[in-house]
C-alpha cells in the first residue's frame, strides 16, 4: 500500500503542471507551426497555403537584415561575454581581499531587466545628452561617439549593452567552475614548475569544458530571443537597422497583420534554438550514461 502511494504521489503532483506545459508550450508550438502554413492575416484563419509564407519570408529584405543582425549580435555577444566573464573570474580567483563585496557588484547588472538596461544605455549613448555631450562640456570638443544614431554601428551598441548586462553572470558561472577544479592537480602542476598562466591555459580551462558549454547555451538562447533590449535601446532603428528576428516576429504577427509570415519567422527561430539545444542535450545525456 505504502509503496504504491510512493509510486503515485509524485505522478499526481506533477500531472497538472505536465498537462499545462503540454498544452501551453508544446500545443501552441504545434499551433504556430500550423498557422505558419495558413493565410492568416489579422486573426488566425485556416486556408492552407503550404510553404508560401516561408518563401515570402526569405524574400523579405527586412528578414535578411534581422538575420544578419542576429549573426553579428549573437557572435559578438557570446564571444565577448564569455571572454570577459572568464577574465573577471580568473582575476577574482586570485584569493583577493573583499571578494564577497566585489563579486555581487559585477553580478548585479543581471538583476536588472533588459528594459532598464536598454533605457539607461539609450540615455548614456545619446550624443545630445549622454557621454558625447559630457565629454564635450569637459573640454574635449572633438570627442564623438554617435554609434547609436549611425545605422552601420547601432547594432554594436546593442552588443555593448547586452555584454554589460550578462558578463557578470557568466563570470559567476566560470567562478563556480574554477572553484570546482581539484586543488591537488594544481598543486602537482606547481611542483612541476608550471607558471600560473600555463596552469590556466593547459589545465584549468580545458577542465572547464562543461561550463563553457552551459554558458554558450544560456547566452545563445538569450541572443536569439533578444527583444526587450532592442525595443528599449533603439526601437529597432535608426530606420530598421537594429531589427532582430524577435522584433520582426512581433511586428509581423501583431501590428502588420501578416500573422502567417510572423508565425513562419517564429518557427525559424524555434529551429535555431533547437539546433543549439539538441546537441547540448545529446552530449549531456551521453555523458550521463557513462557515469
Amino acid at each position: 500500500m505504502k509503496d504504491r502511494l510512493q509510486e503515485w504521489v509524485p505522478r499526481l503532483v506533477l500531472a497538472p503542471s505536465f498537462l499545462l506545459v503540454l498544452l501551453f508550450v508544446y500545443g501552441f508550438i504545434l499551433y504556430t507551426g500550423y498557422l505558419s502554413m495558413t493565410d492568416s492575416r489579422m486573426l488566425p484563419s485556416y486556408g492552407f497555403v503550404g510553404l508560401e509564407n516561408y518563401q515570402k519570408l526569405f524574400a523579405l529584405r527586412h528578414w535578411n537584415t534581422a538575420l544578419t543582425n542576429l549573426a553579428i549580435f549573437g557572435i559578438l555577444y557570446i564571444l565577448i561575454s564569455s571572454l570577459l566573464g572568464l577574465f573577471l573570474a580568473i582575476l577574482l580567483d586570485q584569493k583577493i581581499r573583499a571578494e564577497g563585496l566585489i563579486r555581487p557588484i559585477y553580478l548585479y547588472p543581471m538583476a536588472l531587466s533588459f528594459i532598464v538596461t536598454g533605457t539607461a544605455w539609450k540615455w548614456f549613448l545619446d550624443p545630445g545628452i549622454g557621454l558625447e555631450n559630457v565629454m564635450q562640456q569637459w573640454g574635449w570638443e572633438n570627442f564623438e561617439f554617435n554609434w547609436i544614431k549611425d545605422r552601420d554601428f547601432a547594432i554594436y551598441t546593442v552588443v555593448l549593452a547586452a555584454v554589460w548586462q550578462s558578463s557578470g553572470f557568466v563570470m559567476a558561472m566560470f567562478l563556480a567552475g574554477l572553484r570546482g577544479v581539484d586543488n591537488e592537480i594544481i598543486k602537482a602542476a606547481q611542483i612541476d614548475g608550471a607558471s600560473g598562466f600555463r596552469i590556466y591555459r593547459k589545465i584549468i580551462i580545458p577542465m572547464m569544458r562543461p561550463v563553457f558549454l552551459s554558458a554558450f547555451v544560456v547566452l545563445a538562447h538569450l541572443a536569439i530571443k533578444a527583444y526587450d533590449l532592442v525595443i528599449a535601446l533603439t526601437g529597432g532603428g535608426p530606420g530598421r537597422a537594429t531589427e532582430l528576428p524577435a522584433t520582426f516576429m512581433y511586428s509581423y504577427t501583431f501590428t502588420r497583420n501578416q500573422m502567417g509570415i510572423g508565425a513562419s519567422s517564429a518557427i525559424i527561430m524555434l529551429i535555431m534554438i533547437f539546433s543549439i539545444i539538441v546537441p547540448y542535450l545529446y552530449s549531456e545525456l551521453k555523458s550521463g550514461e557513462q557515469k
Binding site: M42, L43, H62, K149, G237, A241, S251
Partner: protein, 415 residues
C-alpha cells in the same frame, strides 16, 4: 473532498457570471486609448451626455500611442466571444474588422440623423461597409500641416512658403541663422508623415495613383524619384540627433525657437497652445507647400460591435458621438476638426477654422485622401512596407532611384 471541489466550481462560476454581467443592458463598454489629460477631458463630454440619456459608461482604456496595445486587447476580447460595445479605431483596422463580420449596424440611427449628407464621402469609405453604417466618426485629423515658429520665419524673410522652392530657400535661410530648419523625430511613422505630404505636393492624381490605388507605375515612376529627392533635401534640414525623438519633443524645439518648423498632423497644435503660444502671432500654420486645397486625413471612429444585449445603448451612443455639440466640444480640445461638415466653427481658433475650411474645400473638389502614414490609404501590411522603404531611404540606405524601385517591390510583396 467532493464538496470542496463543488464549492470551487460554484465560486469560479460565480466569478465568471459576475464578469459577464459587468456591462448591463443600459451600459456601453468602450475600448479606447484616449488617456492623456486633454483627451480624457474631451471624452468626459460624451460620458456626461450619455448619462443624461440614462446610459452608463464602462471605461476600458488601453493606453499606448497609436492604439497598438488596444488592438491587441481587442483581438483577445473578440476571439473570446466577448466584444466591447464600441471601440476607438483607425482606418484600415475598421475594414479588417468589418471583413471578419463581427460589427453591428447603425443604419437606423444614421438614417434618422441624416449622416449620409453631412459626413464627407472619403470618411464614409471607412464608416460604412457594404453600404451599412458600422462606425461613428469622431474627428478628422489632417496630416499635411507645417507648423512654423513666427520669429524664426521673420528672421528668414517673413513670407510663409507657398511652393517647394520657396520652402527650401526659407529652410536654408533658417540654417544660416543658426537654427535647425526642420524639427523632426526619426521614427518610421514620422518619416512617413513627411513622405505623405511630399507625395501630395506632386498633385492629387499622383497621390491617388501611388498611395490609394498602389499603381506600380506611379510607385516606381519619375515623380516618385523626385519625391525621394525632396525627402533627401528635407533630411539635410534635420539635426544630427533626430533619430528616435518623439514628435512632441520636436514640437518643443519649434516652440522654444531651437528649430524653425515641424511637419506634423494637427495634434501638434495642442503642444503650441499648451505652451501659451498664439496662432498667427507666435506660430504660423500652413499646409505643406503645394498642397493647399488638398487634405490627407486620419479619422478616429467609434466602431460598433455586434453585441447580444445593449443594442439601444449602442445606438444612443452613436447618436451622441455624431451630435454637433459633442463634435465641436471634443475637437476644440483634441485639435482636430469635426467629422461632419455642418458644425459651426465659432469655438475653434485660427488654425482650427482654417482646418475646417480646408476640409470642406478638399471634400468638395476631390482632394480629400486617406493618409498613408496613418493607415487610411492602404492596409497595415502595405503601410508598413512603405514605412520600411521610406525610413530606410531617410536614413541613407538607398538612393532615390533605388528607393522608388524598392517601393514597388515592397508594396507588391505585402499585397
Amino acid at each position: 473532498m467532493k464538496s470542496v471541489r463543488g464549492l470551487k466550481l460554484t465560486v469560479s462560476a460565480a466569478i465568471m457570471a459576475a464578469a459577464a454581467t459587468t456591462a448591463t443592458a443600459s451600459d456601453v463598454e468602450v475600448l479606447h486609448w484616449w488617456t492623456s489629460g486633454g483627451e480624457a477631458a474631451a471624452l468626459n463630454v460624451l460620458k456626461e451626455d450619455l448619462s443624461g440619456k440614462g446610459v452608463g459608461w464602462q471605461d476600458m482604456p488601453v493606453a499606448g500611442g497609436g492604439g497598438e496595445a488596444a488592438m491587441t486587447a481587442l483581438r483577445a476580447r473578440v476571439t473570446a466571444g466577448n466584444a466591447p460595445t464600441a471601440v476607438q479605431m483607425l482606418g484600415f483596422d475598421i475594414k479588417d474588422w468589418a471583413n471578419e463580420g463581427v460589427l453591428g449596424n447603425l443604419n437606423d440611427v444614421a438614417a434618422a440623423e441624416g449622416w449620409d449628407d453631412v459626413v464627407p464621402a472619403a470618411l464614409q469609405e471607412f464608416s460604412k461597409h457594404d453600404g451599412n453604417w458600422i462606425a461613428a466618426p469622431v474627428n478628422v485629423h489632417s496630416t499635411n500641416w507645417v507648423w512654423i515658429n513666427k520669429s524664426a520665419l521673420d528672421a528668414a524673410g517673413g513670407k510663409a512658403p507657398e511652393t517647394w522652392e520657396e520652402m527650401v530657400s526659407v529652410m536654408e535661410a533658417m540654417k544660416e541663422n543658426g537654427i535647425t530648419p526642420l524639427a523632426h523625430g526619426g521614427q518610421a511613422w514620422q518619416d512617413a508623415t513627411l513622405f505623405d505630404a511630399v507625395v501630395l505636393s506632386m498633385g492629387n492624381d499622383f497621390y491617388k495613383a501611388s498611395m490609394i490605388d498602389l499603381d506600380p507605375e506611379a510607385l516606381g515612376g519619375e515623380q516618385m524619384v523626385e519625391v525621394f529627392n525632396r525627402m533627401a533635401t528635407l533630411r539635410s534640414m534635420v539635426d544630427d540627433n533626430f533619430s528616435g525623438r518623439d514628435w512632441n519633443l520636436a514640437s518643443a524645439m519649434v516652440i522654444n525657437g531651437e528649430a524653425g518648423m515641424q511637419m506634423m498632423g494637427d495634434w501638434a497644435k495642442g503642444e503650441f497652445l499648451k505652451a501659451g503660444l498664439t496662432a498667427e502671432e507666435d506660430f504660423v500654420c500652413i499646409r505643406f507647400p503645394g498642397t493647399q486645397g488638398s487634405v490627407t486625413f486620419n479619422s478616429d471612429q467609434f466602431v460598433m460591435f455586434d453585441i447580444e444585449e445593449g443594442g439601444d445603448a449602442q445606438q444612443a451612443m452613436a447618436a451622441s458621438v455624431m451630435d454637433p455639440g459633442f463634435q465641436s466640444a471634443f475637437n476644440v480640445v483634441k485639435g482636430s476638426v469635426p467629422a461632419r461638415t455642418d458644425v459651426p466653427n465659432d469655438d475653434f481658433g485660427y488654425c482650427g477654422k482654417k482646418g475646417m475650411a480646408d476640409l470642406a474645400e478638399a471634400g468638395s473638389n476631390g482632394g480629400l485622401f486617406g493618409s498613408m502614414a496613418h493607415g487610411h490609404a492602404a492596409p497595415a501590411a502595405v503601410k508598413n512596407a512603405v514605412y520600411d522603404v521610406v525610413t530606410a531611404h531617410f536614413n541613407g540606405e538607398f538612393e532615390a532611384e533605388e528607393a522608388a524601385q524598392e517601393l514597388v517591390n515592397a508594396v507588391e510583396a505585402a499585397m
